[in-house]
């Protein structure tokens, strides 16, 4: 777990995406993979949008590395992000860990100690799991996680 750089969020897990959030809690990046299509499914869901079957979807662990596909430094956020200062929104092309299979491009933030000017298209990144604990009146302490990336 890494202390959060940017605001975290309450996520509502569903029966379709729960393994993703469970893996994140355990420090892993797991995504649904459709074996007949040799393709990861993004965003996580129960049905492969290529073959429209859910029968052969299995969850695979990805290495958690990738490259910046595109990014923007947002000068000032709104709402809960108003006080976050300039922050980087990015698409990261994930390494799949499988020969001949592309990982998906996922929306995320690039965070960390490096200057934001060093974020470039094609820059190599690795995942960090941003975490905090939120006290919920009903549920007590809830650990919240988000998949973010940092420059390698």
């Amino acid at each position: 777990m890494t202390a959060p750089f940017l605001p975290l969020a309450d996520v509502e897990t569903t029966v379709e995406n729960r393994p993703f959030w469970d893996a994140l809690r355990n420090g892993r990046l797991d995504l649904p993979y459709c074996a007949p299509c040799s393709a990861f499914v993004w965003y996580p869901r129960a049905i492969c949008p290529a073959c429209h079957s859910g029968n052969d979807i299995m969850w695979r662990t990805l290495p958690g590395t990738g490259r910046v596909y595109s990014y923007s430094v947002v000068a000032k956020g709104s709402g809960r992000w108003k006080e976050s200062g300039p922050y980087v929104v990015a698409y990261v092309q994930l390494d799949s860990g499988l020969v001949g299979v592309d990982g998906p491009r996922v929306l995320t933030n690039i965070v960390g100690d490096q200057p934001q000017q060093e974020v470039k298209v094609d820059a190599a990144v690795r995942m960090i799991i941003d975490s905090d604990v939120k006290n919920d009146a009903k549920l007590g302490d809830v650990v919240r996680n988000l998949l973010r990336f940092t420059l390698v």
């Binding site: 965003y43 596909y69 947002v74 990982g103 929306l107 933030n109």
Partner: protein, 388 residues
């Protein structure tokens, strides 16, 4: 079935105000509806088809039909953001061709400043299946378009100066529009010196957010023949959807690669035949990518295409957004779309401002982009003629 010549735009009306105090959204819908019907020489009693999108209050067409006192036999509330109203023209033409209605009314209105409402439809995505994989990263609309611009720069060498040319052309036109929200002509240097909102997009690279509204009346050919007003034939229509595509999103193109060719094929014309183009301009990059996708230039050539005043009326290679567009004139309900069609109708009727009227304007294109270039979006393309 081709829609070419099967429906005509008989009425077009843009609300003259950009701040509209002491009125409700429903009221502005009704006002612009009345304006477009009067422009056509028709009345509310003639309306048998009604079209509105996510900006309409309450139950959409049901609430608005009641408010305006109409009883349409055909309704449509297709919601694709800023392209909604161009989709509506297509759907109106389809419904008219099918005999389901003869006088179709399309309305848009919004009061983003006075009502404190955010972007119409923005609240509806809370239960979207993708929401927890996109919404927690401070991802704003401008950040999405900025990422599209960044990728375009990376792949094709497009520059901020080239993007700024689009704003310069829009502002050059807006100076002649007394109703435009921003009427000052700006330079490339001024665009680049404006505050950076989401790198590489500056404040002046984005559209205005005024109150406003607009309406269109689309009619059957026999109605068009009976009216005194110059009615504008629908020549071609096309719609497309683009989304994240299972993690393979390509930020350098839009669904205009689908909507454009369909519209051109239906109209039987090519990009070279277009005398005037209304291109939805939420941001400068929105225009640049659409120009490429619609075939006005090759993919990656948009930056060079827009340079040197190519978009400036009346004598540029492709005069665009002669009302000042969303960048300077109007972007009602934070979406526009209908204003693209209204200005295309003005051009084809010869009723644009004399400083920007394209001489002998025979064929015009109106193109809408809705949603977010960086996630999921809908494109719709409409080709209109001065006559059939």
């Amino acid at each position: 079935m081709s829609l070419r010549g099967r429906a005509f735009i008989a009425g077009a009306f843009e609300h003259p105000l950009r701040t509209i105090p002491d009125k409700t959204v429903a009221q502005v819908h009704a006002e612009v509806a009345g304006g477009a019907l009067a422009d056509a020489g028709l009345t509310f009693a003639d309306v048998d088809g009604y079209f509105c999108a996510g900006d309409a209050p309450g139950f959409g067409p049901l609430s608005m039909a009641e408010y305006m006192g109409i009883s349409p036999t055909h309704i449509d509330s297709t919601e694709t953001g800023g392209s909604s109203y161009i989709v509506h023209v297509q759907h109106a033409a389809e419904a008219i061709a099918a005999g389901h209605c003869k006088v179709a009314l399309i309305t848009l209105a919004g009061l983003p400043r006075s009502s404190g409402a955010g972007i119409a439809g923005a609240g509806r995505f809370g239960n979207s299946p993708e929401v927890h994989f996109e919404n927690h990263f401070g991802m704003s609309i401008v950040a999405g378009y900025a990422m599209a611009a960044r990728r375009h720069m990376h792949e094709f060498g497009t520059t901020s100066e080239q993007l700024a040319e689009i704003k310069v052309a829009a502002s050059t036109h807006a100076q002649h529009n007394p109703n435009a929200f921003l009427r000052d002509v700006v330079t490339i240097e001024e665009v680049l010196a404006s505050r950076m909102v989401a790198d590489p997009l500056h404040r002046l690279a984005g559209c205005v957010v005024p109150a406003g509204g607009g309406a269109l009346v689309v009619v059957a050919p026999e109605i068009a023949k009976s009216l005194q007003r110059h009615c504008i034939p629908v020549l071609g229509t096309g719609t497309g959807v683009k989304h994240v595509d299972n993690g393979r999103i390509d930020l350098t193109h839009t669904a205009a690669v689908q909507s454009g060719p369909r519209a051109f094929a239906e109209a039987g014309v090519s990009p070279a035949d277009i005398d005037y183009a209304s291109i939805y301009d939420s941001f400068t990059i929105t225009v640049l990518v659409a120009l490429e996708d619609l075939g006005f230039c090759a993919k990656g050539e948009g930056g060079r295409f827009v340079a040197d005043g190519a978009l400036q009326a009346p004598f540029g290679r492709l005069p665009f957004n002669t009302d000042g567009g969303g960048l300077c004139n109007n972007h009602p309900s934070n979406r526009g779309g209908i204003t693209q069609v209204i200005e295309a109708v003005r051009q084809l009727r010869g009723e644009a401002h004399s400083a920007v009227q394209v001489p002998d304007c025979e064929i015009a294109l109106a193109h809408g982009t809705g949603g977010n270039l960086a996630t999921r979006m809908g494109s719709s393309t409409l080709i209109l003629g001065r006559s059939l």
